[in-house]
């Protein structure tokens, strides 16, 4: 690099207020973009995890008339499967004295809430309920449902069971709330209600109501098709994303839309750098003419001006990414604080999720910013050709 180019650029970066404002603007554009990417990706992954661990499992094995579910030997696939639980489920209307709610009743065994599932959910259990000798069956409902029905632990609710056979009639059963759970994602929580599997089988007797929910080991999370192949035929096997298809398709679409919108913001920011370059040329017309007078070629002048603006763009981008990461990595506490400050709309979102940094998307956006800035600055610097020493003398 020519030493004059370095010196000239350094002077511009350090002394031109306009370049400082460009740096701040790029940083202020990049920070929310990175933050938005972290927020959307982490929340979508978090919500997906909630659905997988509390609603559908990674894989579901259903009876299809060939093999009985009891014939499935999970131990044979111990390298692939983290857990295998029998689940009986059906739908019901839940009544309290003050309200109603639609729920999916999931009958599960004691082993269902293993470590991974317990990472996704917290339970509030009453000591009284644990030692209760009441004849009523105990159920676990979500905090969202409890709030909606205005009930708490120890209260009674009625379940109007929707029969799995058209010949059966709707029948109400009375239950006692033994525990209240919360996964942090109210939209899913409000759909779920857990009961003991044996009791669930008395409510939903059909074979089709029972399935095996499989959780795979970390190694096979991205290789579900391999697990399906290993298990082979004899069952209907479905993956987590085949349940609640619209939810997952919405996630994918939302993610793509967010990325497109963020890219458009980046394009605008990149074009701003070109206008900064143009303005810099306008401001430095005399200095450019002097540099040409003492022997700088137009290429050298363009290189110097380009390096000034591009350096500022690059530094602004890096600062923006760092700032965005700092905010993004602390999103959980920030969102919880905002929610506690009265932003009720936040409760529709998942507030408690593991932060994932979408490096690829950040890289894509950064590369776009640098590329578009590069092109637009180069185009705008074409004007330096018109600045000649003699033109400046004649206008002086």
């Amino acid at each position: 690099m020519n030493p004059f180019v370095l010196l000239w650029s350094r002077k511009r970066v350090l002394k031109r207020g306009r370049l400082t404002s460009c740096l701040i603007l790029i940083a202020l554009v990049m920070a929310p973009l990175v933050c938005a990417l972290i927020f959307s990706d982490s929340m979508m992954e978090g919500i997906t995890s909630k659905y997988i661990y509390l609603s559908d499992g990674h894989l579901q094995l259903n009876w299809n008339g060939e093999k009985e579910l009891s014939d499935f030997k999970a131990d044979e696939y111990s390298s692939m499967l983290y857990s295998c639980d029998e689940v009986t489920s059906g739908y019901a209307l839940m009544y309290s004295a003050t309200g109603t709610s639609n729920v999916m009743v999931k009958g599960v065994g004691k082993s269902y809430f293993n470590d991974r599932r317990m990472d996704q959910v917290t339970f509030a259990v009453s000591q009284l309920a644990e030692g209760s000798t009441s004849n009523l069956k105990g159920i676990s409902i979500s905090r969202a449902t409890a709030d909606e029905l205005k009930v708490s632990i120890g209260d009674r609710v009625a379940l109007m069971i929707v029969p799995d056979d058209v010949d059966k009639v709707l029948r109400p059963v009375l239950c006692r709330i033994d525990s209240i759970f919360s996964s942090g994602y109210d939209q899913l929580d409000s759909l779920l209600c857990f009961v003991d599997i044996d009791y669930a089988k008395t409510l939903y007797g059909a074979k089709e109501s029972t399935c095996l929910e499989l959780l795979v080991t970390s190694e096979y999370m991205e290789k579900l098709d391999d697990v399906i192949s290993a298990i082979g035929g004899g069952y209907d096997i479905s993956k987590w994303n085949e349940h609640n298809v619209s939810v997952y398709e919405n996630f994918v679409t939302s993610r793509q839309m967010i990325l497109i919108i963020l890219m458009l913001v980046v394009v605008v920011a990149a074009f701003y750098t070109a206008s900064v370059a143009q303005q810099m040329i306008q401001d430095d017309m005399q200095e450019i003419a002097i540099t040409k007078l003492i022997g700088a070629s137009d290429t050298l002048v363009r290189r110097s001006a380009f390096l000034s603006v591009y350096t500022v763009t690059f530094i602004g981008m890096i600062l923006g990414i760092i700032l965005g990461l700092l905010i993004g990595l602390n999103l959980g506490p920030i969102l919880t604080w905002l929610s506690s400050m009265g932003l009720k709309s936040l409760s529709f979102y998942l507030l408690d999720f593991d932060i994932t940094v979408p490096w690829l998307s950040i890289l894509l956006i950064s590369a776009s910013l640098l590329l578009i800035s590069y092109i637009s600055i180069q185009v705008s610097l074409g004007k330096t050709k018109r600045i000649t020493p003699i033109r400046l003398f004649t206008s002086m």
Binding site: P3, F4, K11, E287, I290, L293, G295, M396
Partner: protein
């Protein structure tokens, strides 16, 4: 070989107010700058002295004729090669000192060398030496805004000499200075040019300054008349 040779130079400008009429400033003018000698051009304001200097430095093009700098016709060069020629073979000094405002005195002097690709640490000694010779040792880190008119002009002289060019082109270098400063700068410029063995083409309306040079020409009626010749 002459550092700069003007051959049959004619320069016409379009008259600003008279349609397509042209005004002839210089007519079939010839001038050869002799290596190691100083040459002054005097003349009234508007006689075309500055135009002649701009043409000699490759900043402006003649309507007819050619300018040969170190054996190369300026007209045959593209922007890059013309810039290189200007950077290596010509030093400029103007009435308005035309220093880079954000650069310190030292950086301004080093600029021509940096442009030609010499690293800062390699050209710093030469720049410091020049500034010290012109009494600016304690002003090196000052930006032009913090220097007096005379000091700025001395920095401009140092910058012009930095790359050891064959010829210095100076347009009214003391025109904006008071009498005392002007006299000091005149002597410094002439002494330094002689010590360094450079050629000087000086354009001025100051006859005293002009006649300190080896050769003096009067620019009148679009052409040059020899007034004084080196012995």
């Amino acid at each position: 070989m002459h550092p700069i040779e003007l051959v049959s130079i004619t320069k016409r400008f379009k008259a600003a107010e008279k349609g397509n009429d042209e005004i002839t400033i210089l007519q079939d003018l010839n001038l050869s700058i002799v290596q190691g000698q100083s040459t002054a051009i005097i003349g009234k304001s508007g006689s075309g002295k500055s135009t002649l200097l701009h043409i000699a430095g490759g900043l402006d093009s003649p309507t007819e004729g050619k300018v040969i700098c170190s054996g190369t016709d300026f007209a045959t060069l593209d922007d890059k090669r013309r810039s290189v020629l200007r950077n290596r073979h010509i030093g400029f000094i103007f009435q308005a000192n035309l220093l880079l405002e954000d650069f310190s005195a030292l950086e301004n002097v080093m600029a021509p060398a940096l442009i030609s690709g010499v690293k800062a640490r390699e050209c710093k000694d030469r720049a410091v030496e020049l500034l010290e010779r012109l009494g600016l040792a304690d002003r090196m880190d000052h930006v032009p805004g913090k220097l007096s008119g005379g000091e700025k002009q001395r920095v401009a002289i140092c910058r012009a000499l930095m790359n050891r060019p064959e010829v210095i082109l100076a347009d009214e270098p003391t025109g904006a200075l008071d009498e005392e400063n002007a006299s000091e700068v005149e002597n410094l410029l002439l002494d330094l040019v002689r010590e360094e063995g450079r050629s000087l083409l000086l354009v001025t309306h100051n006859q005293d300054f002009a006649f300190k040079c080896d050769n003096v020409y009067l620019l009148k009626n679009r052409n040059l008349t020899l007034e004084k010749e080196a012995t």
